[in-house]
């Protein structure tokens, strides 16, 4: 049984970790576009490090029912999306995560195999998942770009945005066959996560 996301009525904050070239910044932007399309207020912004392919990059997205004025980086996220599992050894990705916060990690292995079984200590199993986003992207998009795939999974995991709004956001940002493929890949991840947690988060 998944409890409803805390996104309604109070601000919901998402932090996305990845590497330059993986679409980390775009992911936060897409999330904000989808939330905006649902009539909510959203703010997405990046923290660029050295702007190099492969360098750790963090992006942020806030969603609220009221206008968002604060501009500080998100230190205490309600949800984490980790686009590259190799960051676990380099960056304190879990810093400040709420004890019942959501985690979606791009990996073909599960948390136990990754030595992260403690993630399930305080939170329901349905709040922390891994999905093989790079593999799905390779298969469906033809390129190892995990960002849209993870957002599909994120939509199912948290219920913060619907798959329809996400598809709309991807279409708005990319258009054409790039959008189509990314939407298809995101939908696959969405269905996979929905099956894994047993029911749609926003029933």
């Amino acid at each position: 049984m998944t409890s409803p996301p805390r996104g309604r009525a109070e601000m919901f904050q998402v932090r996305i970790h990845g590497r330059g070239g993986q679409g980390v910044v775009t992911a936060a932007e897409l999330l904000s576009l989808a939330a905006f399309a649902e009539g909510r207020h959203a703010q997405a912004f990046p923290t660029f490090g050295s702007e190099r392919t492969g360098a750790p990059v963090t992006s942020f997205c806030r969603v609220d029912d009221s206008p968002i004025r604060i501009r500080e980086p998100i230190a205490e996220p309600d949800a984490l999306v980790i686009q590259d599992p190799t960051l676990l050894h380099q960056v304190d990705v879990f810093s400040g995560l709420a004890t019942d916060g959501y985690v979606l990690l791009n990996s073909s292995r599960d948390f136990e195999e990754l030595g992260l079984e403690t993630l399930h200590d305080d939170r329901p199993a349905s709040r922390a998942l891994t999905i093989p986003a790079t593999e799905i992207a390779r298969e469906v998009i033809g390129r190892p770009l995990p960002n849209a795939v993870l957002l599909g999974g994120f939509a199912a995991l948290t219920g913060l945005i619907s798959m329809e709004s996400l598809a709309g956001a991807i279409g708005e940002k990319f258009g054409g066959s790039v959008a189509e493929k990314n939407i298809a890949a995101a939908s696959r991840a969405h269905d996979r996560v929905r099956d894994a947690i047993g029911e749609p988060a926003r029933a």
């Binding site: 904000s32 997405a44 912004f45 660029f48 004025r69 604060i70 501009r71």
Partner: protein
Amino acid sequence: MLRQVEGSRAVAEAVALCRPEVISAYPISPQTHIVEHLSDLVRTGDLDPCEYLMVESEFAAMSAAIGASATGARTYTATASQGLLYMVEALYNASGLGLPIVMTIANRAIGAPINIWNDHSDSMSQRDSGWIQLYAESNQEAVDMHIQAFQIAERVSLPVMVCMDGFILTHAYEEVDIPDQEAVDQFVPSFEPRQVLDPAQPVTIGAMVGPEAFFEVKYLAHAKQMEALDVIPEVAQRFAIDFGRPSGGLVRRYRTEGAETIIVALGSVLGTIESVVDELREAGVGVGALGIKSFRPFPLEEVREALTGACRVVVLEKALAVGRGGIVSTDVHEALHGTHVRCNTVVAGLGGRSITRESLRDLFERAGRDELGPLGFLDLKTDLVERELERAHGGTPSGPHEQNILNDIGVVAAGPH
């Protein structure tokens, strides 16, 4: 139309709505997305007529803008940081000649050490360049200020910088209401230049002026900035009527009535400050904020009026006058001359250091207990500074500061990870 859009793109669209005839620019982070989008609009013919000049440097960008503006073309450019510094000589010419160029500054730190992140060192370094300087709090205000800027510039015949925080605003996706062309056309009339270079009616612009008249011409620049103190609020007022929202103007008060402590700041940090003010007000603490929207000309009277009821004022500055401290606070001090309001300066957020609600809460608290000295540094890691000073005074060559400090904190590549 209300849209979820990147700040840079929103500003580019707002600039295009004002129908600039010449854009000359050179890319530099974090301004690049703005001019990139404008060059696209020119290429596709969506912004037409307009000539986009891809020049070889910022010095050339401003020089070309001066030439274009002198021929009577509405002219726009954008830059940041080292790019602004590279323009400096031309900046003074643009203002001295009274050319109403509009320029976006995507505020960024100045090296060394090299740093691409946000603070106000770049535009503050041009405080006395003769340009009007407006500071936007949000992307909505950045859009609105650009639309107002063309009119302010052309009415007083002075160039205007619209300053928006690099990355924090330029790279943020948030909702922005971008007006339609018709409304902007009504608000921004066609440009009627006070002086035009025209082969049919030759004039000299920029004649050499000796001691007999230099002072007077220079004074005119000051007189026009003083005029702008009337024009800026007039334009903001008309904007509010035409577009239905307040934006721009000289200052913005936020819950200053009955406030014992007021924080004065510029730019995007105001949003975070206002949210802390709300929290503290709810807890019964008498605090408020004053946003300075027009730093040049400096609205002494409005600032004085907004602050005189307070016991103390904290000027939060995103720039450091090395060897002195505050920059904005010097002006705020003058505004408070003769009152009993105490004024503290706090330097914060240099080179992209986050200004958090937690630090601001603490700052308000310490201010309320009168624990702030005349000059403070928010979230400065003093232990690192002390260790490096010790090394530097140690007698042996201690090496470059920046590398030593990076080594101390164990960072291999710059950036907040």
